[in-house]
Symmetry: C3
């Protein structure tokens, strides 16, 4: 049976999760966020807890946590909270949007989040606490590490591998059979055609800007 | 109750709209286009009116208009027709394809068109007469201005803002929290990571071409 | 009535086809592959034939073939097998994933494969033995030649035309009304805004890589 859920965070990432979970009629017992007040109207009706310590009021056998902290390069709060509450015996819910298209032959580890309109093909493995964000495409036989963030609109071709803590920026594409080392940042819009070593950032050529004259273009 | 619809235009954009509206069993009372004859077979069975003045034969309380004029940089016919018929008291139908994925927490102004396979997340606002074209992704908290065209395959990350009359070209991507000024053209395939000032065009680095030798690649 | 299917190939492309066909409860009478053993667990329960000659044991009036060979630039096995077995009187099944979104006004020639989450708009024509891979978007009035491979995440705007044997790499985008000659390779992530002559390869500007320092970015 599905457990009630307690959500860590109250920003944009959490709001999409709440939207997905409401469509699945899941019970949300609260949002945990240091903000003095929840400004987002879609959180109306959900109880607000102001401190991480409030989590401890909930029995880890009764509720599951949802990691509502978003993931951006250079901010590891999401990973810290995951590790902290795992050490305290809590389980993180794996969330799969009802309208994502997921192969029966894909495997997700604990706390994976598969967002709206995502496509996951056969034989894919996704590591713990990884986000597959809106509309991303994960092709057959991809093996994605823990604590990755695959941003909206990313396309990974077949047999792409990534180690832990990789960020694939918005709309990035990776061709088949490429391996990505740990702690890599793939900049938004990058097209990756070769392996990327650990602790590397890559980004596409800059766009060019030009002032438009009257009646242009 | 749904009103009968009169469509302005008879090109490719109008053809996709007709396809979407037929799937919703909407009544289409005619297509308005100066072409002497409608060549597209999928318009068979729909009455053809040759002049904008023919619109005035229809009572603006009885029918709604659908803006079937496409949008490309440098061509503002779509906007002109919208403003002209609004001034004459007509209402423009907001069209949302049945297979688009739209959050209950998104808001669309008059005449917005959400095409096939589009994803719109929570707390998004889309301004009047804007097209979200096939398969585009609009992330949480985006605030899109009036008379924008978001072309097929575009991805906008969370909290992107645009002013009026912005064109996002095919497959362009914009990272989170970027602001785009009015009258901006984002070229196809651009990856935008910083704010863009008004009256600007941006485009990606050119692709390189090479003649393939026999048995290459 | 649907015929039983015999699949040529047992790699990643074949695995996605098996997944799609199982969702449609299609009968799969075997996989033909020179591998000594099928390693992919999702092929469990499907009979394995080791040689192309085994195909001849099946009556071409009773079964249809499915071309499970993937397509990459420089490898024309997929096309060779198609031509060989057509000459022997076999028919290739046209496969359309149940969750693809396909206009009633699109036409597919023999052996076309439309994968998971693909969108095909009105008045599109797709030539024989062409793959439209996962999540690709094919806009209104596109006319795609035979033996093309449109890789995952590609976006083709309206009225794009391609001749035979064109490869559109992962995540490539093409703007409206562009024509692509035969034997062209559009590199992954390319954004094509002008016609491309036959026997040409195009690729985007290289990405830049930089080693991340501690606590970067």
């Amino acid at each position: 049976m599905s457990k009630p859920l307690l959500i860590l965070g109250a920003g944009g990432h959490a709001s999409v999760l709440v939207d997905i979970l409401r469509q699945q009629n899941r019970e949300i017992v609260g949002l945990v966020s240091p903000e003095s007040e929840l400004k987002n109207k879609m959180f109306n009706g959900i109880e607000h807890f102001g401190s991480d310590d409030d989590v401890l009021k909930f029995d880890n056998k009764v509720i599951n946590l949802v990691n509502g902290i978003g993931s951006l390069p250079g901010n590891n709060l999401r990973v810290k909270l995951y590790n902290k509450f795992k050490a305290l015996g809590y389980e993180f819910e794996t969330v799969v949007a009802s309208n994502a298209i997921v192969s029966d032959y894909a495997r997700f580890e604990e706390g994976v989040q598969i967002f709206t309109g995502v496509i996951v093909q056969t034989n894919v493995r996704i590591g713990r606490n990884t986000i597959i964000n809106t509309g991303a495409i994960i092709e057959h036989d991809c093996n994605i590490g823990a604590n990755n963030h695959i941003a909206p609109g990313v396309t990974l071709s077949g047999q792409v591998q990534s180690q832990e803590n990789v960020h694939f920026g918005t709309g990035a594409t990776v061709i088949q059979s490429v391996s990505i080392g740990e702690n890599v940042v793939i900049g938004a819009g990058s097209s990756v055609t070769k392996n990327v070593e650990e602790n590397t950032i890559c980004f596409p050529a800059r766009i060019t800007k030009k002032v438009l004259k009257k009646n242009e273009p």
